[in-house]
């Protein structure tokens, strides 16, 4: 099975973000970066499918400047076979512009499966996967929380608000992966060493026109919490009083 996984390099979220001087981006100073959470699940799903079949080929693709090679190398060290950097000065916010570049790369790749994370944890748009599927005219399943493949068909589950649904579709297909499906492995030392020798191709990204842009970024108002009203069950009457008279939620 030939599988492509599209991955994104994102800042570590366990940090206090600052707005950059341009007022429309996050200050990069001191940020750590890694593969977007859901993309890690997608890479893991690809590797497990390959292992289960005993053969196959996993290509990881990332769009952006040279630094995304770091993220691609991580996927290679997890076990992916080859990597492609679609070179662009920066990653646009516009999902369709990105989908066009990915579709151009994926179109003639002969992939049985094209995987994405459910969403990029930074921009949180959740659009690139299904848009790429439409551009490639492939069946698409989003936010798969389980996935079974047999006889060229896939069965997948999507979590809904208080429910879930099961869908079936033929391969080749585009699938975006939710968490809970397969916890990503950590790269082994052998994997890290091996990754250095694996092919990493750099191509110019054929981005589409950009119509969606960030005009401004701001930090949400700080919560003014931190008020401890008491200890143990004895504090309950005071809590109930505050919920009624102050918060007016009871």
């Amino acid at each position: 099975m030939k599988i492509a996984v599209c991955i994104k390099r994102v800042p570590d979220m366990e940090t206090r973000f600052k707005i950059a001087a341009d007022g429309k981006s996050v200050d990069q100073a001191g940020l750590k970066f890694d593969m977007s959470d859901f993309d890690g699940y997608a890479v893991e799903v690809a590797l497990r499918l390959k292992e289960k079949e005993g053969q196959g080929d996993v290509t990881v693709i990332s769009l952006g400047p040279a630094v995304v090679q770091e993220t691609l190398r991580k996927a290679l060290s997890m076990g992916a076979d080859r990597a492609v950097q679609l070179e662009a000065e920066s990653v646009p916010f516009d999902g369709l512009a990105i989908a066009k570049a990915l579709a151009a790369e994926l179109k003639d790749g002969g992939y049985d499966l094209i995987l994405f994370g459910r969403m990029a944890i930074d921009s949180s748009n959740q659009t690139v996967g299904p848009m790429t599927a439409v551009l490639l005219d492939l069946p698409c399943m989003t936010a798969a929380s389980s996935l079974e493949i047999a006889g060229g068909r896939a069965t997948a589950r999507r979590e809904l608000e208080g429910a879930a649904e099961i869908l079936e579709f033929p391969l080749p297909a585009v699938i975006t992966i939710d968490e809970g499906i397969a916890r990503p492995r950590l790269p082994s030392l052998k994997g890290i060493m091996g990754a250095k020798k694996k092919p990493l191709e750099v191509k110019p990204a054929q981005l589409g026109d950009v119509h969606l842009t960030v005009a401004r970024m701001e930090l949400p108002p700080e919560r003014t919490g931190g008020r401890i009203i008491g200890e143990g069950p004895d504090a309950v009457p005071e809590l109930v009083r505050l919920l009624r008279t102050e918060a007016k939620v009871l």
């Binding site: 659009t127 968490e179 701001e218």
Partner: protein, 328 residues
């Protein structure tokens, strides 16, 4: 005068609250930009036309009903093709979807079919000159992006709960249409809808959310939270990622960066330390109560009211107190 499109999501033939939110958002947008009609699309098995009246009350001028026995469950390709065809054929400036699980599947498909970009998970929505402008939380809600989308039609998905459904008392014209593609030709086939606990309110819609973490010690203790939720009568029970990873609660109950994002009127965190991953999913709640043994737990930093103590001891007492308060 351009019109506004709204997709009315259903489940099992019933309108979901997010359908009313989408129609309300479309109505408000249309009114703010000087009028124009709101056209709602509802898709389902025969009988779903009965939902048109309610969509009219929430502001739809026209309800297009697509009924087909094969569309009793959400069929992504059929609905996307049908919505795209309607939007393409009409004079629409903006097409509004919900950023629900279904809406997040559907709206990018529709946008790509129309060849346009889209705004996701908008918490505000406005047409300004030749652009649609919105706010959209990024970086797990730690940063808010003000985004600008040019081009028409503009596809937007609206964050569930961001726009309160409001009746505007109009009566809709009902039109029926056929699916844009034969449901039997869809490659992606819906097989089954698995309903969760339907007696419980949905996490995203409940005014009160009672949530538990590892501090509850064993899965059985979630019964205490269910009792508290029942005492409120308008509450849903959520959980942290640690708890859903352990399989104590279903994955769909997880509140956090990678799970559900909720902002109820009241959020009660019981036995939750407050990992960043969890805070990302609930920090916009109006009032936050935290109950935790550890006085240094990060959850207290964002809680309006904190009680230092064992959730297993505090919650049952709170449940009784809420029952008493509700009696009065």
């Amino acid at each position: 005068m351009a019109n506004t499109f709204a997709y009315a999501e259903t489940r099992g033939g019933e309108l979901r609250r997010v359908a009313l939110e989408a129609v309300t958002a479309a109505r408000q947008l249309a009114d703010a930009s000087g009028g124009g009609e709101v056209h709602a699309l509802v898709v389902g098995a025969p009988g779903v036309a009965a939902r048109a009246e309610q969509l009219g009350r929430y502001g739809a001028d026209v309800v297009t009903v697509v009924e087909d026995p094969a569309l009793d469950k959400y069929s992504p390709e059929v609905v996307a093709a049908t919505a795209a065809r309607l939007i393409d054929a009409g004079n629409f400036r903006v097409a509004v979807f919900s950023a629900s699980a279904q809406g997040k599947d559907l709206s990018p498909r529709v946008a790509a079919k129309l060849g346009v970009s889209m705004i996701s998970d908008a918490t505000s929505l406005e047409v300004k000159d030749d652009a649609v402008v919105s706010h959209h939380p990024v970086n797990t809600g730690k940063v808010i992006a003000a985004v600008t989308l040019t081009g028409s039609p503009a596809v937007v998905s609206v964050r569930p709960g961001a726009i309160a459904p409001a009746e505007s008392g109009s009566t809709a014209r009902v039109e029926s249409a056929k699916p844009a593609i034969d449901p039997a030709s869809a490659r992606v086939v819906p097989k089954e809808l698995i309903r969760g606990n339907t007696a419980q309110l949905d996490l995203g819609e409940a005014p009160v959310v009672v949530s538990g973490g590892r501090g509850l010690k064993v899965p059985e203790n979630f019964k205490l939270l269910e009792d508290l939720a029942a005492a409120f009568g308008n509450a849903a029970v959520g959980a942290t990622r640690a708890v859903t990873d352990e399989g104590w609660r279903p994955h769909s109950d997880q509140i956090g960066q990678t799970g559900r994002l909720v902002s109820p009127d009241l959020y009660i965190a019981a036995g939750i330390s407050g990992a960043i991953q969890h805070l990302a999913g609930m920090r916009t709640s109006r009032t936050i109560v935290a109950i935790n043994k550890d006085r240094e737990a990060p959850i207290f930093k964002i809680a309006d009211y904190g009680i230092v103590g064992d959730a297993l001891e505090v919650v049952p007492v709170l449940t009784e107190a809420v029952k008493e308060a509700k009696k009065e």
